[in-house]
């Protein structure tokens, strides 16, 4: 397979913070429509990998190719327009805007200064917002300020804000962390819907959940790939067992 046949090809990716290599010569490849889960102990560098892909952190070395484009040289908003959507670990939604407005701001139109001044809330926008709102269980709360949502609802809203962008790659950082049991179940349901027609890169700890959704699992440890393959493969990899249970 040629490098550009992959949706995402990460090669030799390295970032060092004052000499500390949070991500160290990391390589992995994502195929279109693949659901990939990254697991690993705290501090393994998982979040940093997503930061590097979406442009929040700049790589010290290595390459990130996405649909034939080199992301390491692009600005954050250009990476979004190239088709990468990213959800943060802590829910980040616009608390002073309503649920509707949160989704509308994320709608992929009118993203320039002039475009946003001229932007009209037309039928297509309303339709898109309402359809996504139904998917994320917030259809009845469209007029609420997002600041009034529960923690779990904010997580869903942020996922909705990504969905409305129609990204070719969705990256989710611990989407069920901090959720109640009921919210977890609904989120799992939501993710199953999403994964049907998106390529998804997700960081998660819940092994049950990982086994449920993952096509392939990448295990990270100290900034490197420790193991990669099906969930059963990595679960039985002695190095993975060593890292998780060895100390």
């Amino acid at each position: 397979m040629n490098k550009d046949d992959f949706l995402l090809a990460v090669e030799g990716l390295t970032v060092s913070f004052d000499g500390f290599k949070a991500v160290d010569d990391l390589s992995f490849y994502l195929e279109p429509q693949e659901i990939r889960v990254i697991i690993g102990p705290n501090g393994a560098g998982k979040t940093t990998v997503l930061d590097l892909i979406c442009g929040k952190t700049r790589a010290t070395a290595g390459s990130i190719r996405f649909r034939g484009k080199e992301l390491t040289k692009m600005k954050e908003h250009q990476i979004v327009h190239a088709g990468v959507g990213r959800k943060f670990q802590n829910p980040s939604v616009f608390e002073d805007l309503t649920v509707f407005e949160n989704l509308e701001v994320s709608y992929p139109m009118g993203h320039t200064v002039m475009g946003s001044l001229a932007f009209k809330r037309d039928a297509a926008v309303i339709e898109a917002v309402e359809s996504v709102a139904r998917t994320i269980f917030l259809h009845d709360l469209l007029a609420e300020p997002a600041g009034l949502l529960s923690h779990g609802q904010k997580q869903w809203l942020e996922i909705g804000m990504l969905l409305i962008q129609k990204p070719a790659l969705l990256m989710l950082d611990e989407p069920v962390a901090g959720m109640s049991v009921a919210e977890r179940k609904k989120t799992a349901e939501l993710l199953r819907v999403i994964t049907r027609d998106h390529t998804v890169l997700v960081i998660e700890h819940d092994m049950q959940f990982v086994g449920d959704i993952a096509d392939r699992v990448t295990v990270m440890h100290q900034g490197k790939v420790l193991s990669e393959g099906s969930i059963d493969h990595v679960k039985n990899d002695p190095r993975v067992i060593e890292v998780y249970l060895g100390h």
Binding site: C54, D96, N102, H111, V113, S116
Partner: protein, 391 residues
């Protein structure tokens, strides 16, 4: 936010507030005040332009500039240069060693009009410059700062430094700028004396009209998606960035808009007061401008206007009796506002007067007013089906 007909807008709550302001400025004050006092109000109003710019820039977008005096001053100086040239005819300055140039140049042994003064012979150029000179400087500062992601306190300090630098520059370059005295002795605007009571009253009305134009521009920006992105940026800059927006471009635009409003205010100030000097440019006036905005309510355009009017009126009242106490009074006012009612007068109005209006006019409580201030969770009662877990 739906664009309905202008008439039905005027009947809306917001429309009525605008009408009330128009009534106050166009009818009540001109009838109630003598020309001298009305001229004072005209002067205060020129600061309202700065205040609405700050509402957009600081209140909506969270960009605190402590250097708005710079833009106010640049607009004011542009106008003053035009008026000064008009006042410096060869006949009027025949006694100078170089007739035909402004008097302060002659006193400073400048013997020819500097090149950058030349275009200010033209009134149309001057009007454009009133907008573009502040706008251009704001653009340069904006590109230099926002592209590098300088924000918050660092940005505020840099704007303050710029205010300080500009003051020093103006004072130091006496021969070109009139130095510490500024540009004084302005007489006519295209042959029309601006010093009579009648002229000052006319200028007052011009100021009011221009203020409403700026208010409507600001309101339009605020109600567009652009306005919602400003609020979003104030909350979660990164989320805006990762929703595909070039955050710096939005900040630059709003900072330039605020600067141009300030420039217009400055130009009107020069006309209304008849001179311009560095004392309206530096750090202290710039901070005062932020106080107007904070006191009026930094999330409300109309709040900014009332803030500028009230603080300046208080300043005049105070300065007439205890001039040396004013800085302390203003400092106390600012601290009081920040601590006790951070949303300013507009916030108090919203909280205490609006419910009264609702009862008085048996209006249904405004379901969701344009929400000019952040949703304060503790202020709201939660619907039953929502539970808020504070992280």
């Amino acid at each position: 936010m739906k664009s309905s007909s202008p008439l039905s807008w005027l009947k809306s709550r917001e429309g009525l507030y605008y009408l009330a302001l128009a009534l106050l400025l166009v009818v009540i004050l001109p009838l109630a005040l003598d020309p001298f006092r009305l001229n004072m109000v005209g002067k205060y109003l020129t600061y309202a332009f700065v205040a609405i710019g700050l509402v957009m820039c600081w209140g909506k977008a969270g960009i605190l500039s402590l250097g708005q005096g710079v833009f106010f001053g640049l607009g004011g100086y542009c106008m003053a240069m035009f008026l000064k040239l008009e006042a410096s005819t060869p006949e009027a300055t025949a006694h100078q060693s170089t007739p035909g140039i402004p008097d302060f140049m002659d006193w400073n042994q400048v013997t020819a009009l500097p090149w950058f003064w030349e275009p200010f012979h033209s009134f149309s150029f001057t009007l454009i410059a009133v907008l573009l000179v502040p706008g251009l400087l704001a653009f340069i500062i904006g590109v230099a700062m926002f592209k590098r992601r300088v924000s918050g306190v660092y940005f505020a300090i840099i704007t303050q430094a710029i205010a300080s630098i500009l003051t020093i520059l103006i004072i130091g370059q006496q021969g070109y700028t009139g130095g510490v005295n500024g540009i004084t002795d302005l007489q006519t605007l295209m042959g029309w004396s601006i010093r009579t009571d009648a002229a000052k009253t006319t200028l007052y009305f011009v100021g009011v009209g221009t203020l409403f134009v700026c208010l409507f521009v600001a309101r339009w920006v605020q109600n567009s998606k652009f306005g919602r992105i400003l609020v979003a940026m104030r909350d979660q800059e990164n989320r805006v960035r990762f929703s595909g927006y070039d955050v710096a471009a939005f900040k630059i635009f709003i900072f330039c808009l605020a600067a141009m409003f300030a420039g217009v205010g400055g130009a009107l100030f020069t006309l209304q007061v008849g001179f311009m000097s560095p004392s309206f440019v530096g750090i202290v006036p710039s901070i005062e401008m932020v106080v107007f905005c904070a006191l009026g309510g930094r999330y409300s355009l109309l709040g900014g206007v009332y803030g500028a009017l009230l603080v300046n009126a208080a300043k005049s009242g105070f300065s007439e009796s205890f001039p040396e106490l004013w800085p302390y009074a203003m400092g106390a006012l600012f601290i009081g506002v920040v601590l006790a009612f951070p949303n300013g007068l507009a916030g108090l109005y919203r909280r205490y007067v609006m419910p009264l209006e609702d009862r008085l006019f048996s209006r249904k409580p405004a379901a969701r007013p344009a929400r000019p201030e952040p949703a304060r969770r503790e202020d709201k009662t939660l619907p039953d089906h929502l539970s808020v877990e504070k992280p």
